[in-house]
Amino acid sequence: MLVEVKDIKKYFGLVKANDGITLTFKDGHIYGLLGENGAGKSTLMKILSGYQPPDSGTIFLDGKPILFDSPRSALAQGVGMLYQEPHDMPPFRIIDNYLLGRDDNILLNYRTAERELKEFSTRYGFSLDLDANVQSLSLGERQQLELIRLLAGGAEVLILDEPTTGISSEQKAILFESMRKLAREEGKTLILVSHKLEEVQELCDYAFILRKGKYIGGLDIPCPNEKLVEMMFGQIPPRTERPSFQLEQPVLDVRSVSISTYRLSVKDINLTIRAGEVFGLAGLEGSGQRLLMQTCAGLVRPDSGQIILDGKDITNWSYHKSKAADVAYIAAGRLEEGLVAGLTLTEHVVLARKEHSFFVDWASAKTDTLARIERYQIVGRPDSTADELSGGNQQRLLFGLLEPKLKLILLEHPTRGLDVQSTNYIWDLLYQRRADGTAIMFISPDLDEIIERSDRIAVFSGGVMSRIVDAKTTSAEELGHFIGGQL
């Protein structure tokens, strides 16, 4: 199916998310849609898949102008989109999840559904446990399920939005293989939205680059990475120099720690982090890194083993006790698990303090807040509420709330959803901290970030910490292999 988008415009208030974009996608090809955060890729694809209407512009399928009023009507006309977080129903059984919205019959036809699921799975090399609930599946498996549903629903055009974040390298290989099959053998049109250049180089035939809502240009793939980067950013962003650092005595000592929850068990973890060290945890979502970090923060109690902080046994300490002992924990969800929407910056500053006076001195709190706004370059006023800030500024605010001298900072996805400038700024702040002797442990699904920023990396796979490697001597491919379990 030939897909053309002509002069698509979409504005959110004053922001021009899509500012007159015109592109053509031919069947039998795999296209890459590149651009940094905020370039407008997701917005455009949401319009193309029927999730939201454009403010102006038209979509043509095989030359006919088309209007979608919902994702379902888009799928009925052949366009389906696989989201980073698939639109499935976690508590449902797989078969019920597959059947929801499939047709208009009142009765559910389980036999046909089972047959179709098995057929599609074998065709593309997926392996699914049909009796399970959706929420027990890994992200990669949920993606496979969603792909099957889209294909069974008649998709001729498949859009995949950042599909490889958080899936194993085996699953990625299976996914890419299936994409090639769909394009070459079945003549479908595939669009891969990504910011990962290596994947686009590996998979795509052609790349469209967007920047700040506009279409910049297209390139045949393969091509030199620098050309892509130049078009994406306008200029090559300077690689921040990683300063060499002299590491000192151990700060965190994890000895034979085993943790179990009803979803996951992590066994026998051993690692030591020294003052000023940046320690990255690599692995798929749900492999145990988050659990380990939460245990170090005091949010989860380990079943066995010991955690020693600066010589003190903090194994069974509560979160608040660890926090008072200068262990900081910043979760991934800034507004869900960190900031309070509706509270002002000043109120956050007062709340986050270690000691609380009975009565609040609002005047001095405001002065304190202004100082932190200045120091951390937060775009906002003391009386702005946390939800009024952009993501990058929220992250800076979270940093601004930290105590001045900390022993250990635990970060989940510190640069999630941030553009390059904000990312560099956050890491500058973190490197300033490590110069003070603070140890830093962080999780990131982005292997490049882990390799670039860490001193050492721990690899997690299926609840086991398989090894610790030196960041300087490893590469993204090697790490990927380790994560995939190939020791």
């Binding site: 639109h87 508590p91 009765l107 009803y262």
Partner: protein
């Protein structure tokens, strides 16, 4: 106590539980769609009063039930409309309606208190009613009881074995994903809130026209709250909810038996049983104890056990669905 007396007691438990089963089914489907209708207690009072008054004036219980269903649907509509269109808190609106229903039913029904009225006719099923034990228990009742049981079965089938049931459950779990699959989320919410409310209305009238015929101020007070608690206890499943309703119905019978055995203990103590039971029942469901027990079971049993004993609310319960 001999066998026939025991059977009679159980039979009366079933009768007492029937209206509660209907109300629990109704609220279960409302909450499965993502709407919590806290006005149940007030709705049941209003519908009990309305059902009785209309039945008295028309001479027919069926008009009474119809009017009561209308009242129930109307109250439910107010809750869903204010949540979906006006973006108000479902809990706030529901709570105000509960208080309003209590006062309004007392005011509007003031001329109808303690008057006899039409009753639902007794309707034993011919052959089935003669089966020993099961007969008097299940087939020797009136149409309200049969309706209650049929409703539980139909609700279960609708929820778990039909496409519209998937739509309903999807709306309550992840409305954005349901929307992406083509479900009109708000329309589904309106529909099942109205149906659920109508059923609650029928349940209210089942009291004033069947169980305890007549009307007085505060007649069914407390039952709506118990129904809400049973929905939670039932894990938002109609069958478990029905079992919960029967359990609560049993407490009344138990109270009568205990009262006879221990006449010295004051009657007020037995009034306390349903409320203590409510707290206990919610404690069991709300704490981590169920999950811990499941973890002790062998691996193969865990998945089906978790499915039966699950007590997690629909993920989108109480939320509003935004326009995109």
């Amino acid at each position: 106590m001999n066998e026939s007396e025991l059977i009679r007691i159980f039979s009366s438990i079933i009768l007492q539980a029937a209206p509660l089963m209907i109300a629990v089914c109704g609220e279960t489907i409302t909450e499965r769609a993502g709407v919590v209708n806290l006005s149940l207690d007030g709705t049941m009072l209003m519908s009990a009063m309305t059902g009785f008054v209309v039945a008295l004036n028309t001479g027919s219980v069926w008009w009474g039930f119809l009017a009561a269903a209308g009242v129930g649907a109307f109250f439910a509509f107010i809750v869903s409309f204010s949540s979906i269109r006006l973006r108000q808190s479902q809990v706030a609106v529901g709570f105000v309606l509960t208080l309003l229903g209590d006062d309004l039913s007392a005011f509007l029904g003031q001329n109808y208190t303690r008057i006899p009225g039409p009753v639902v006719k007794f309707l034993p099923i011919p052959i089935l009613g003669d089966i020993p034990i099961l007969g008097p228990l299940f087939f020797d009742h009136d149409i309200v009881v049969y309706f209650a049981f049929a409703l539980v079965g139909v609700t279960w089938w609708w929820l778990f074995r039909t496409q519209p049931g998937l739509h309903l459950r999807g709306t309550g779990e992840r409305p954005e994903a349901a929307f992406a699959r083509g479900v009109n989320v708000n329309r589904v919410r309106y529909l099942y809130t109205l149906v659920g409310g109508a059923l609650v209305g029928i349940a209210g009238a089942a009291y004033s026209l069947d169980i305890k015929v007549g009307w007085a101020e505060g007649y069914t007070r407390g039952l709506g709250w118990i129904a809400l608690a049973i929905v939670i206890f039932g894990g938002w499943s109609p069958i478990r909810g029905a079992l919960g309703a029967i359990l609560f119905g049993a407490t009344k019978a138990l109270a009568t038996i205990l009262q006879r055995t221990f006449p010295e203990v004051s009657v007020v103590a037995f009034n306390a049983i349903p409320w203590i039971l409510m707290i206990l029942v919610l404690l069991v469901v709300g704490s981590e104890s169920i999950e811990r027990i499941i973890l002790l079971m062998p691996r193969t049993l865990q998945r089906p056990l978790r499915r039966i004993l699950r007590a997690a609310p629909p993920m989108a319960l109480g939320t509003t669905f935004g326009e995109k």
